[in-house]
């Protein structure tokens, strides 16, 4: 999704869902302000509280249904990869392939449009839950399953807001960072530079050779969750090697070594830039995807907490 698609998502059909959810929130706030429940204190057990709770629950089911629909239309990432692999390896008749492509494209366009509408509704309705559910609670909170469901809902919505933000901004940053390259390309180039630097360094003193080997062995691109998200490596050996090479260049300035040192330094500099780009790519993509690892599981957890909340209310009515 690029910036334009993001904008379309929010402005879908002239802000249809923004208007609808704004109206819903306005009605809820007005009702909350005007309708004075028995006892003068609003909470989930008044008729307005029940109504807001029912509406919010239905909205939550709708929002979760979006996730199911999305998976049904686009499939899970694993399935997508599998499909691509199968398609590549299978020799299909050109005509049949063309026909299939046409059909798939048509379905994808339809599904894409439908998904975009769903997503637009998903974003605005999800945001409206903050207001609706807060009014449902009557702003009574405690250490109980009811507040747990509320907090989980806020976490799901917060992660959704983060996701919306990254989907609106990160695709552009990824394009700017990678230009025409791919991550595989960058890794290959880095490997080539490592090979080149390693070969060059073999003829140089151990100090230089060790530095280059360390930069080759210990420079890490990607890695654990936090390493991917940070897009950096503490005390990056390549960065240190570049700095050290400046000093070592002066130290081993003899025979034909200055040229080799220069080449080595140049290779390391190029590698450092490539490593930075590769890490940035991994970081941006990790940040682009990481929120879903909270949004979806917390959504499922919210469903469980919601079930416990509703059952508890009627179990001890």
């Amino acid at each position: 999704m690029n910036m334009m698609q993001g904008a379309t998502l929010l402005k879908y059909k002239n802000y249809r869902y923004l208007k609808a959810t704004s109206l819903l929130m306005l009605l809820a706030i007005t009702a909350y302000a005007l309708i004075r429940p028995a006892g003068g204190e609003s909470y989930g057990g008044t008729w307005l509280g029940y109504l807001l709770g029912i509406i919010s629950t239905l909205i939550m089911f709708f929002l979760m249904w979006y996730g199911i629909t999305k998976r049904r239309i686009t499939g899970s990432p694993e399935r997508r990869k599998l499909r691509t692999r199968v398609a590549r390896s299978t020799e299909m008749a050109d005509q049949a392939r063309l026909e299939r492509r046409k059909t798939r494209k048509k379905t994808r366009v339809l599904s894409g449009a439908m998904l975009q509408e769903w997503l637009s509704a998903h974003v605005y309705l999800g945001a409206s839950l903050i207001v609706l559910v807060s009014l449902h609670t009557g702003f009574h909170f405690g250490l109980n399953v009811h507040t747990l469901a509320y907090v989980l809902m806020l976490l799901v919505i917060s992660s959704g807001f983060y996701g919306l933000n990254v989907y609106l901004n990160y695709p552009r940053l990824i394009t700017l960072n990678m230009t025409e390259d791919t991550l595989d390309n960058l890794l290959l180039k880095i490997a080539e530079l490592d090979e080149l630097a390693g070969t060059r360094a073999l003829g140089l003193p151990d100090e230089v050779n060790t530095l280059i080997m360390k930069a080759r062995r210990e420079t890490r691109i990607g890695g654990t969750l936090f390493q991917q998200l940070s897009g950096d490596q503490k005390d990056c050996p390549t960065r240190i090697a570049v700095q050290q090479m400046l000093h070592l260049g002066a130290k081993y300035n003899q025979d034909d070594q200055p040229k080799i040192m220069r080449d080595l330094y140049s290779a390391l500099l190029r590698k450092e830039k490539l490593v930075l780009r590769a890490r940035t790519e991994i970081m941006l993509k990790a940040r682009l995807e990481c929120w879903l690892y909270l949004h979806a599981p917390l959504g499922i957890a919210l469903l469980a907490a919601l079930a416990a909340h509703i059952v508890s209310i009627f179990f001890y009515w």
Partner: protein, 537 residues
């Protein structure tokens, strides 16, 4: 000069050796990674200059390892050794084998890379590290379902368990962390806190609302709203206790202080209850009728609207002037002029709602006031009581006085014979002249009339001081102690006990607003004064 045939051995894909020969010569043959070395071993595990092959003084060839460089000769670490055919020398990942001598060469060495670098050793770590979150093996489904399972177990299954067994419920209720505590939406009110986590005390049946029987099981004394059974049943049959008494809202909130429920009926009470004499009430400030004052009318209690001035007369049977007693200059007393305050006579009870009943002894005779003096023929005090009791006291008093001294008997009428008869005679005379006089002594406060009884020929009008002017309402005097009594009760100029100085609703409205807060006023709902469970007739 050393002439050396160097055989470079590599392996083809089938693992068979492929040899490539080269001849090197020199006085010393250096072996190492460095470009200057004649045996050039391209691997970082080999030192720049690792070892040298030299000729000794006796002409034999030997290999000499450089400082800090390790040689492994025939499996043993060594620094230097003579080169003999068949000798196996390991330098870093390379194996050098001394081949049997052949013509034309002093030394034949075969060199083979026996420990090539694998990908990891080559430092291609960056390519093997996960570069996507998916590659980390994280699963949204697994995480989500695990969380959901934990939540369902902790917050759905466990809280249900206590309802399965009473004994188990009792046991878990005593634990520091209870199984069903997470279901409680808030702290219990007041005395209900005693139940703690034993939810089944009130929630006796799953998926069924708390019944009224549960409440009335403990609150047996709680009255109904309407005294008429039929009307009560008809009006409140479908109303549950918990509709008004909502628990789990903290210690303060169990009683409904909101007036909207009351108004839902009393706002149109005349329409809703045919034949009702009650006025419609919507709000204390704007839609409340004038107060009713409850008075005793001879035999029964009557309720008189406060604006019905003609009927608003108290018939207490007493003659009393608040004006005299509350005079700024004081009221005459045995201690001289004494300035009295309302509280001198009206003592607030501990409940803070009502005043203690006034008595002659504690109220009227405080500071020696209103003493019932006897002066003739002997000085003494008469008691405060019924007419008969006073007369009997006088008879006993004079009888005793006549017996005290024969001289006292001179006061007897010559026509009256005997001490008893004389005492009775003196009692009658003095009662008539000192006590039962109009506007004096007894007559100062009581209405006295004649009686047919020969023994007690006077009749005191019965005293009925009204103690509760508005029995259907609760007024907390204690909460109004910051005010002066006369701010509400206009008694400073009241000359007669017939005056009723109960404040009107207008007076209350000076400080009290209705259901909704108003600037500078106190919001006052129905339950500020009325009690729902009082059983209105």
């Amino acid at each position: 000069m050393i002439s050396c045939l160097l055989i470079h051995v590599t392996r083809n894909p089938q693992g068979l050796p492929v040899c490539k020969n080269s001849v090197i010569t020199g006085s010393t043959i250096q072996i190492g990674r460095g470009a200057a070395c004649k045996v050039h071993l391209l691997d970082h595990r080999v030192s720049l200059l690792h070892a040298s092959v030299r000729r000794s003084e006796d002409g034999a060839l030997y290999i000499d390892g450089e400082r800090n460089a390790t040689l492994k000769i025939n499996g043993f670490i060594a620094q230097s050794a003579p080169l003999l055919p068949g000798m196996h020398v390991e330098i870093g990942p390379y194996a050098l084998v001394v081949e049997p001598a052949a013509s034309g060469h002093d030394l034949i060495l075969s060199v083979e890379l026996i420990h090539p670098l694998n990908d990891h050793d080559a430092g291609i770590a960056c390519q093997t590290a996960p570069v996507t979150l998916a590659a980390l093996g994280l699963s949204k489904r697994k995480l989500g379902f695990s969380l959901a399972a934990c939540i369902l177990f902790l917050y759905l299954l466990l809280p249900m368990l206590p309802s399965a067994s009473v004994a188990f419920d009792k046991w878990q209720a005593g634990m520091p962390v209870t199984l069903n505590g997470s279901w409680s939406p808030g702290p219990l009110a007041g005395g209900h806190a005693l139940f703690g986590a034993k939810c089944s005390t009130c929630h006796q049946r799953s998926f069924q609302a708390v019944s009224d029987e549960v409440c009335t099981g403990c609150h047996k004394q709680t009255g109904k709203h309407l005294a008429k059974e039929e009307l009560q049943e008809k009006t409140f049959k479908a109303t549950r206790c918990t509709e008004c008494h909502i628990d789990h809202k903290g210690s303060e909130r169990l009683v409904l202080h909101d007036s909207s429920t009351c108004i839902s009926c009393h706002g149109e009470i005349r329409r809703k209850v045919a034949g009702s004499e009650l006025a419609n009430v919507n709000d204390f400030a704007t839609g409340h009728p004038p107060f009713h004052i409850t008075l005793r009318n001879d035999k029964e209690l009557i309720r008189v609207r406060q604006d019905d001035k003609d009927k608003l007369i108290e018939k207490s049977g007493l003659k009393y002037s608040h004006q005299v007693h509350l005079a700024k200059g004081g009221v005459s007393s045995p201690q001289g002029d004494t300035v009295m305050r309302c509280q001198d006579c009206h003592k607030l009870e501990e409940s803070g709602l009502h005043f203690a009943p006034m008595t002659m002894k504690k109220t009227c005779q405080q500071s020696d006031c209103h003493a019932l003096d006897l002066t003739e023929p002997a000085e003494g005090l008469a008691p405060h009581g019924s007419e008969l009791a006073v007369m009997n006291h006088l008879r006993v008093f004079y009888s005793k006085w006549l017996n005290d001294s024969p001289e006292n008997r001179a006061a007897c009428d010559p026509d009256v014979q005997g001490i008893t008869a004389c005492a009775d005679d003196l009692a009658r005379k003095n009662a008539a002249t000192t006590l039962f006089r109009k506007n004096k002594e007894c007559g100062e406060c009581h209405e006295i009339g004649p009686a047919a009884d020969n023994d007690v020929p006077w009749k005191i009008a019965p005293v009925r001081i009204n103690r509760d002017w508005q029995p259907d309402a609760a007024f907390a005097h204690a909460k109004h102690e910051a005010m002066s009594c006369t701010d509400c009760h206009d008694k400073m100029n009241s000359r007669t006990s017939a005056d009723i100085s109960m404040p009107t609703i207008a007076k209350c409205r000076e400080c009290h607003a209705g259901n909704h807060p108003a600037k500078g006023k106190i919001a006052s709902g129905c339950d500020s004064c009325h009690r729902f469970h009082q059983g209105v007739k």
